[in-house]
Amino acid sequence: MATRLWQRPAFWGFLFITPWLLGYLTFTIGPMLGSLALSFCRYDLANLAFVGGANYARLFAKDALFWKSLWNTATYTLFAVPLGLTGSLFLAVLLNQKVKGLALYRTLYYIPSLVPAVATALLWNWVFNANFGILNNSLRSVGMAHPPAWLQDPNWALPAFIIMSLWGIGGGRMIIFLAGLQGIPDSYYEAAEIDGAGSAAKFVHITLPMLTPMIFFNMVLGIIGSFQVFTAAYIMTAGGPANATLFYVLYLFRQAFEEFRMGYASAMAWVLFLILLAFTGIQFSQAKKWVYYEGELR
């Protein structure tokens, strides 16, 4: 006998997710398709004209700022992601030790990640101030007579942002590493100790391999996140000096909401989407070579 529609579990499943599904289609898939269509148009919010692939052609062939912003973002990612991963892992290892006041330390290191992005940007504006910032005052106190002007120097502005990215090492990434560390069975370490392994050997041969799923997860999200860096640059430097901190999304935002080139900005958004898709795809394809899942058969 045929099962009635309402008797099928899938019916109830879809019914219950309908509100989310409608929202997803309306507010995510819909705008995405809309922006894909717009990327082939010239649209200034008043006039719409189909231009084919002209926006993409201009981006790649004529727009020096597109390449500049891509370069800035890639450079930032290249340094900020590994530094952030290493920093978070280092903190997680420290906070996984059995020491007195551990809960307090964990709280203290987590707090910075709770500070809103705007407040963080303003705070670091002061830290990097060339004349009276705490960083340059410290550098002067150790004998550096002329420390960098940081955010006002085209050569130092991007490194300043990379340094600033370390502010977030105690956040969600560290929590994931910490959870991973706590999930490693003590018996592994005990067995290694019996075999005469030291701390470094245990870390390299047990801790790191067991953490590879977390490293992989944090790396994928880290690269996606760092390619979308925006708030700090928007507030602290507005992309300057001389476009030294013009990140990709900041440039996209300007094209869309300051110069009202919605079609061009949509093309930029899709290029970014494809870049991230490619990066993520590469990472997933390579993951099999170095990510170890417990219980996985090879």
């Binding site: 919010l45 009276f132 006002q152 300057g240 001389a242 476009n243 909401f257 300051e258």
Partner: protein
């Protein structure tokens, strides 16, 4: 508990009564929406203006929407694009041509032609010109102002320097005098740190100096960049020297986080718009006033820019909107904004030249300086491409002021890059 229930009941009843009150429309009044931005003083004046208009026009209700300046442009743009724009709104001159190009505004010609109370002759030509786009008049000029120098009279007196206003009146306020004053007003503390800089200027001052040296950034029709010429290069070099040769103005690093502001007394002369005057009126530690920009080798030319008061093209209440716009720039309207608030230069000749406007009980006292802007002011050549090439200009100007390029390199680089942008079809 019962008090809580009683309180909730009273609140609900209050809401019910409030909701049942007749709206302006139900009272037979036409409601128009007006949107603006500004500091608290400005918004206070706007409210006063709206109140006075409603008193005189009981059949019209103006719903004033105040938007923070930082979000105003985007909000207006989205409202215009989505067809929900207010009937009347203010728009910064920087955006006006780009929006006019997209056909968002109602031309005002037919209203003016039918209105005997409104006459172009009552206004300064320069102010009217800014409201034109492609030969059509769209925007009444409001919050009009020119670039002047705010200066600390106290600092000049302390240094034994002749007051620049006195020099100006004598015809001696020249670039040499300006530089001499800037040098003497730059002071260092015992640690060798700058305690006070002689002058602070914004990148916009490139126009003032380049015009003053006889050059220009764009051709008159704003179709080409012409900055790579000896006059403009001399002006750029002069600005660079102010910072890196004479050290009379802070570098970007020194002035970051508002380390040197006019209000703090750490800047003796500051180039700025008329709109800053209400803010500086809170200064209590020193006396200040205004003076025109100095006369440069090719003359004295200052930038002029206002905001436009505009009517939405698809307004349902064009007549009422026009009445409000007309009142805004009427003698009484401008008295509120310009004479009471002293926020900008009145665009009406009768107000700007009236003793009531020229004689002030609060600084600035030298109000003829505002009016003189009409003699030597020049409007910025802002058109619908302005935002497109500005970034390239700013980049090169930043490099110049960072001393990373020479004036010659900046002029050549900026001209080539801007001309490439201007030659390209909008995309």
């Amino acid at each position: 508990m019962k008090w809580l229930i009683a309180a909730l009941f009273v609140a609900a009843l209050g809401m019910l009564i409030w909701r049942s009150l007749p709206t302006p429309e139900e009272e037979g009044r036409t409601t128009i929406r007006y949107m603006a931005w500004g500091n608290p003083e400005q918004l206070g004046a706007e409210m006063e203006l709206v109140k006075e208009f409603e008193r005189r026009n009981p059949a019209i209700h103006v719903r004033l929407t105040l938007v923070p300046g930082s979000a105003y442009t985007q909000k207006l743009q989205v409202m215009l694009a989505s067809g929900t724009a207010p009937d009347v709104f203010r728009c910064d001159r920087y955006q006006f041509p780009a929006y006019a190009h997209r056909g968002y505004f109602m031309p005002l010609g037919k209203f003016i032609a039918e209105d005997k109370d409104f006459r172009f002759e009552d206004y300064f030509d320069l102010a009217i010109r800014e409201g034109m786009y492609n030969g059509e008049f769209y925007g009444m000029n409001v919050l009009f102002g020119g670039r002047v120098i705010y200066y600390s009279k106290t600092a000049f007196e302390r240094e034994g320097l002749t007051d620049p206003y006195v020099l100006y009146k004598r015809g001696e306020w020249t670039l040499d005098q300006f530089l001499e004053a800037a040098k003497r007003l730059t002071k260092y503390d015992e640690r060798g740190m700058p305690a006070q800089f002689g002058v602070l200027f914004h990148g916009l001052e490139a126009w003032t100096f380049i015009w003053g040296f006889g050059g220009d950034i764009l051709t008159p029709d704003a179709s080409r960049c012409i900055v790579n010429r000896p006059e403009a290069i001399r002006a750029l070099r002069y600005m660079q020297d102010l910072q890196h040769k004479w050290h009379v103005t802070p570098t970007a690093a020194e002035s970051a986080l508002n380390a040197y502001t006019f209000e703090s007394g750490r800047i003796a002369m500051l180039f700025n718009w008329a709109g800053q005057a209400p803010i500086y009126r809170t200064i209590r530690d020193f006396q200040w006033d205004i003076v025109p920009v100095p006369a440069c080798p090719a003359g004295r030319i200052s930038m002029i820019k206002g905001n436009q008061l505009l009517m939405y093209r698809h307004t349902k209440h064009p007549r009422e909107s026009w009445e409000f716009m007309k009142f805004y720039v009427s003698r009484d309207g401008e008295r509120i904004l310009c004479t009471k608030l002293r926020r900008g230069i009145s665009t009406r000749k009768d107000v700007a030249l009236s003793p009531e406007y020229l004689q002030s009980a609060q600084p600035p006292f030298q109000n003829d300086v505002w009016v003189d802007q009409f003699k030597f002011g020049r409007e910025l050549p802002i058109n619908d491409r302005w935002a497109h090439w500005q970034r390239e200009w700013n980049k090169w100007f930043e490099l110049l002021m960072l001393n990373r390029v020479t004036a010659e390199e900046m002029a050549a680089g900026a001209e080539a890059a801007i001309n490439e942008i201007l030659a390209e079809e909008p995309f």
